[in-house]
Subunit: 423 residues, 2 copies
C-alpha cells in the first residue's frame, strides 16, 4: 500500500478541512484576544507562551515530533518515507503586533498544522519528511530586529547576539525565553531544511482589488530607508513677503510630490512613502524653518532602487537650489531585493492551477521570515487576500474560503516538493 | 518768546539724542534680560513691574504727568499751550515675548520718552499737549488676547472682560495687576486722544532688503486663520501600490503649493502660510492617513482676502476629488484690514522727507496696538528696519542710527500734528 500513498490518484482530490482550520484560527485568537477582535500577543509574552503550549500539544496530537531551538523557535516534524531527505518546511509566526489581527503569521502556522492533520486523515505518507515551523519574534514590536529568529537561522546573527537584545523594559530575549519556559536545547540553524514555503495574508490590497484568490510570490522587495531634514528660515507669517521666504514646508511639499513621481516612473513595481514629517517649533503664524522627515523606497530590482535613490537626491538638490533651502537626506538602511526560488514559485503556481484558483504573480511588499530563509534555503510564499489590504490592525480580516484556498495550495505545493524525485 | 518756540526756525533742525535713546534701550533691557541678549518680560510680571517703575520715574523726571488706567496702561502727559486740544499721542508697549528682543514695542515707548526729553532740552512747547502711552499686554504671551488694553481703549472689550482673563497658571489680569501694584484709578478709554503715532521695528525684511530707513505705514493687513484636516487612508508603505494610495501627506503637499500660488497671484501684497502640519500616528513605513494643519492668509484688502479664501477652498476640493481625500478647512478667525489715517500717513512721509531719510510706503504685516487705536482715533505707524527681519527672538536687532532716525521722524510728525492749526 505504501507506494499508492503518493500516487496522484490518491492525493489530487485531497483538500484540507477549511472548517477545522478556521476553528483553530478562532480558538488560538483567544490567547491575547482584544475586545476589538484583534490580538495583543507580543513575542515571548505570557500570551505567546499560551499559544506555544497550545501549538505543541496540537502538533503532538497530530503525531508530529516537536523540538525547540535556543531562540524558542518550534519545529514540528512529520516523518517521511525517506528520512535521509531534508524536510520540506512550511510555517510562519504566532506572535502579533500590540494591536494586531488574527491572521498575520498565524494563518501560515495553523494552515501548516491543518495540512499535517489532513494528511493524517487521508493516511498519506510523503517521501521527504515535512516540517512545520513557528519562528520566534517575527513582528519586532517587543525586540528589535524583527524576524530575528529566522535571521539567526540563516546566519545573519549569532544566537548570543539575539539572546542579548533587550525590550523597552530592559528584559533580554534570554530572560524572556526563560520566563515562559521556551528556551529549547537545539542549536539555532542546526536543522537542515530542503525547502521553505510560507503562506501569509497579502497585507496589501492587490489580490482583493483584482479578485484573485492566490498570490504566487516571486520575491521580496528591496528597501531603502532615509532620514532627512530640510532647513530654510523661520520668519513671521505676516511680515515676510512671499519672494523673500525660505519656507521649509514648501520644499518638503515639492519633495514629497517628486518622490511620488519617481516611484510612478518605475510603475507598477516601485513604491515610495514619506511617512514622517515633523515641523520644528510649529506655529500658525510662523513660516516653517526646519522639518525632519523620513522616506521609504521599495522595488523588487536593485537597479531600480539605485535609480530612485539618485533621482531622489537630484530632486532635493534642484528644489533646494531653487528655493534656497538646505536638504540633508541620509540613507540609514538598505535591504537588497530577495528573489524566491523559481522552481518553488513554479510549484506554487502549478498547485494553484491544479486547484482551479484564480491567481497572479506578486511581490511581497512587507518583510517576512521567508525573506530571511531565502538566504539559505530554496524558499517561496503563498499569499491570500485580506480585507481592504489592512494588516497590523485589530480589524485585519480574511475569509474562511480564502484561508482554506491558501492552505490547499500549501498542501499541494508541499506534496509536490516532498514527493518529487531526488534531485 | 512763547510764539517763537513753534516756529520752523526753532524746530526744523531739532534732532533727538540718539545716544541717550540707545542708553535707555540698553538700560531697560536689564529688566528681564536673558543671557542670550534678549528679554523675557511677560506682561504684568515682576520684571514688567520693574520697567514700569523705571518708566514712571523717567517720565516724571522729564516733567510729564503720569496716570494709570484700570488695566495698567500708563499715560505720560506733556502739557501744551492749548490744553483744550486733544493730546497728540505716541507710544507702544514695554512687555515682551518669553524669548523676545530688545526693540519690539520698547523702541516706540522709549523713542517717545526721548522725544519729550529733546523737546525739554530745546525748551519747546507745543500747541496741543503730547501724550506718551505704554499699553498693557501687547504680546499676548501670558494673557489672551494680544493687544488687549488698546482693544479695550477702543471699545472692543469691557474692562471687566479683560480683568477676568486668566493666564495658564489661573491668575487673572486683575490679580496680576494688583500683584505688581499696577492697577490705576483711571477709567479705560476715558482719555481722549487727538492722534496716535506708533514707532516700531518692521518685524519683516522689506526695509533692510531695499536699503530704506523709514517705513511709512499705510495700514494693517487683514488676516484670515483656518484649521484644517485632510483625511485619506493609512496603509502599508510596502504593500500598497502607488495608484491605490490615499496619501494625506501628498494632498497636503499639493495644498501647500496651491496656497503659495494663490498668494503670489495677489503679489506683492498678499501672503499665505501653512505654519502647522501634524501627521496622525506617523511611522516611516505607513502611508499617512490623516493630517491636521493651519493656514494664515493676509492682505491689506478685504476683497483680496475674500478671493484667496474662495481659491483656497476650490483648490482643496479639486485636490481632494482627484486624490480621493477629504479636506475640511474651517475659518476660525478673520480680522478685516485696518487702513491708517491718510493725513497722518502724509505727515510721517513729510517728516521723513524733510529729514532726508530714504523711505517707502509699507503695510504692517503684524498686529500692533495702533491697529486697535485706528478704530477710534486717527492713527498711523512709523517702521524702522530690523536685522534679517527677525523679531520675537532674542537675536532681534536694530541699529542705533535707525532707531534715532525713527525717533526723529516721530518727533517731527508729533510737532507737525501738535502745532497744526485747529481743524
Amino acid at each position: 500500500m505504501a507506494t499508492d500513498q503518493t500516487s496522484p490518484g490518491k492525493t489530487h482530490n485531497l483538500r484540507i478541512d477549511g472548517s477545522r482550520l478556521w476553528a483553530s484560527l478562532m480558538e488560538t485568537a483567544a490567547f491575547g484576544g482584544t475586545p476589538a477582535g484583534g490580538i495583543n500577543r507580543l513575542t515571548l509574552s505570557p500570551e505567546d507562551g499560551q499559544v506555544r503550549d497550545w501549538f505543541r500539544a496540537a502538533c503532538e496530537a497530530a503525531g508530529l515530533e516537536v523540538g525547540v531551538d535556543a531562540l524558542g523557535t518550534q519545529y514540528a516534524l512529520r516523518r517521511g518515507r525517506d528520512m535521509s531527505r531534508k524536510p520540506i518546511a512550511c510555517g510562519s509566526h504566532l506572535d502579533t503586533q500590540p494591536t494586531g489581527g488574527k491572521f498575520d503569521g498565524i494563518l501560515g502556522v495553523l494552515a501548516g498544522l491543518e495540512v499535517m492533520r489532513s494528511l493524517d486523515d487521508a493516511g498519506i505518507e510523503t517521501e521527504a519528511p515535512l516540517l512545520l515551523v513557528n519562528w520566534t519574534n517575527e513582528e519586532g514590536s517587543r525586540f528589535a530586529p524583527a524576524m530575528m529568529a529566522s535571521a539567526a537561522y540563516a546566519g545573519e546573527f549569532t544566537t548570543e547576539e539575539i539572546l542579548a537584545k533587550r525590550d523597552a523594559a530592559g528584559i533580554s530575549v534570554a530572560e524572556a525565553l526563560d520566563a515562559i519556559g521556551c528556551r529549547g536545547p537545539e542549536p539555532v540553524g542546526g536543522r537542515e531544511i530542503g525547502a521553505f514555503v510560507e503562506l501569509h495574508i497579502e497585507q496589501g490590497p492587490i489580490l482583493e482589488a483584482e479578485g484573485k484568490t492566490i498570490g504566487v510570490v516571486e520575491g521580496g522587495q528591496g528597501i531603502a530607508w532615509f532620514d532627512g531634514t530640510v532647513t530654510g528660515f523661520e520668519s513671521h507669517a505676516g511680515t515676510t513677503p512671499m519672494p523673500r521666504r525660505r519656507d521649509a514646508l514648501l520644499g518638503l511639499a515639492e519633495l514629497a510630490l517628486a518622490v511620488e513621481r519617481i516611484a510612478c516612473a518605475h510603475a507598477p513595481s516601485a513604491v515610495a512613502t514619506m511617512g514622517e514629517a515633523v515641523i520644528g517649533a510649529p506655529s500658525r503664524n510662523v513660516v516653517p524653518g526646519q522639518i525632519r522627515f523620513t522616506l521609504d523606497l521599495r522595488d523588487p530590482r536593485s537597479e531600480t532602487l539605485d535609480a530612485m535613490e539618485t533621482a531622489l537626491q537630484e530632486a532635493a538638490a534642484e528644489i533646494g537650489t531653487r528655493r534656497n533651502l538646505a536638504f540633508q537626506i541620509e540613507r540609514i538602511w538598505r535591504k537588497e531585493p530577495v528573489p524566491f526560488d523559481t522552481k518553488l514559485v513554479a510549484a506554487v503556481d502549478a498547485a494553484a492551477e491544479a486547484l482551479g484558483h484564480s491567481r497572479r504573480r506578486i511581490i511581497s511588499g512587507a518583510g517576512h521570515d521567508a525573506c530571511n530563509l531565502a538566504g539559505r534555503v530554496p524558499t517561496t510564499m503563498i499569499f491570500v487576500p485580506c480585507k481592504d489590504g489592512v494588516s497590523h490592525n485589530e480589524s485585519e480580516s480574511a475569509t474562511p474560503a480564502d484561508c482554506a484556498a491558501g492552505a490547499d495550495v500549501l498542501l499541494h505545493t508541499l506534496l509536490a516538493l516532498a514527493n518529487a524525485p531526488r534531485a
